[in-house]
Symmetry: C2
Amino acid sequence: MTKKQIIIDAAIELFAAKGIEATSVQQITEHCGISKGAFYLSFKSKDELIIAIIEYFMSNIIMDVDHAVSETANRTDKLYVYFVKTFTILSQYTGFAEILMRERSTTISEKLIEKVHFFVEMANGNLTKLLFDVFGNQIEEKQYDLVVVVNGMVHSYAQMLFESKQHIDIQKLAETLVEKTTILAMNSELVFLKKPISLPHASESIPPVVEIIQGLQQACTYSSNKLEKESAQLLIEELQSDTTRAAIVLGLVSNLEKNDKFEWYCYLLRKQFQ
Amino acid sequence: MTKKQIIIDAAIELFAAKGIEATSVQQITEHCGISKGAFYLSFKSKDELIIAIIEYFMSNIIMDVDHAVSETANRTDKLYVYFVKTFTILSQYTGFAEILMRERSTTISEKLIEKVHFFVEMANGNLTKLLFDVFGNQIEEKQYDLVVVVNGMVHSYAQMLFESKQHIDIQKLAETLVEKTTILAMNSELVFLKKPISLPHASESIPPVVEIIQGLQQACTYSSNKLEKESAQLLIEELQSDTTRAAIVLGLVSNLEKNDKFEWYCYLLRKQFQ
DNA sequence: TTGACAGTTGACCGATTAGTCATTATTATA
DNA sequence: TATAATAATGACTAATCGGTCAACTGTCAA
């Protein structure tokens, strides 16, 4: 386990227990038995740590849920899997989930807000696709409202789940949410949202290839595998080229996606080029 | 306007803009043109200010919505009025609403968490009553799930409303929410929650008459009206008596409820004795 | 054994925090 | 007008914050 990971784990525990603002770097370092100086060897600032945590979890959650849904062949089961997986991950990462629930971009930097908005839009996009898969084009007009309502239900039950620490039956919860979603998708006719909710600054932070390249470069420094290093280098060159060839990108991606460090960027590239 | 009120107004603005933790007492006092010392003449601590703000708003919101719903004669209109009023107040008090949305009891004291839970349970109780009024006993089994889902939808749309600062058509939003709620109330059959969600510590903080008495006493110091002072004194005595007579309580309440300072306690007493 | 070096440390810095209190300004009373 | 009472001030304290950096430690090759 890298030092970064040790710090992240300690920070999540403390952030969840006391809030982000109220947790000091000092407390984090004490909690994982390193010195203050050592912290700043791994992270340039406290903000950078926070961003790293958000990125780490949001990307994992989005990928896990999406993979689970994609692997489900039966259309009608997809929605059920979506809810089960979502709540499973949320209860697995209780600490971080609590942070997410209550600290949706309080004080922290502008950069973080953009990051969160990007992930939220990505998650909403996946949910929209899922709803179309399950219910077909009949939900065309109500798609934006449906997304908001589904998010609302998930949020509401999740918050309940965390505030009263009781153990819950995720399968059963998922069943009832599938029923509610289906009822709404089939029967509701009034439309409030006629277009997607435009979050401020979100459009500018759409996955600029630049960011993916930077991410790949950084991930490269962690890898010792020669094939991976070469693939990553070629991938970066291909992306920078004016005539990026999808086949080559996807081929190189399949060389890299087994490594955790590259996983998120591979996921983004597959979304874009497949 | 009392000095307390001036401070509260300034604090709300700053809390909403920068978050509670990140707003200093200094900034609050500068924002309303008083000295730091003067602040501590009105509030014993920053925590006390925060609690006062929460109490001020939560009680106002609960009372406003409840009154509006009660005044609506037609049953089928009640739900519509509930949503319209809720979003109207939330957009009216945007600042505080934003605080509520994102800072559900982060760092702040244990006492505050209990306070919030009490208000949440009160609001949930009112919503439950409303749903029974509108849909009758057919929702008996699904009442707890319905409350959670309705709260989720409100939360979700409200957050959207605040993050993208666009102006919204509250009437139309209310209509679609009425439709969705009705569809769910009529058609859903699966039940997840078989009993109310028990929030930790919430049961102990049920409106102990003691707290009402304390509140009345404090409110008394602000009133100069003689009838009010006498009524309040008699009310306190009646509440402390072993054989509290409902008729007397309600009579005295009607002497007091026009005064803002007493309003909330009168509301609580009416709920209890009517 | 020496010396170069990466990794680690914790005392320290300037800024900021919540909260205090001797002092001053204002008002009411006589 | 003089005196008492109350309200308001802002310099001050002790603590804590994020962040820095000269000094220290342990590990190797020579």
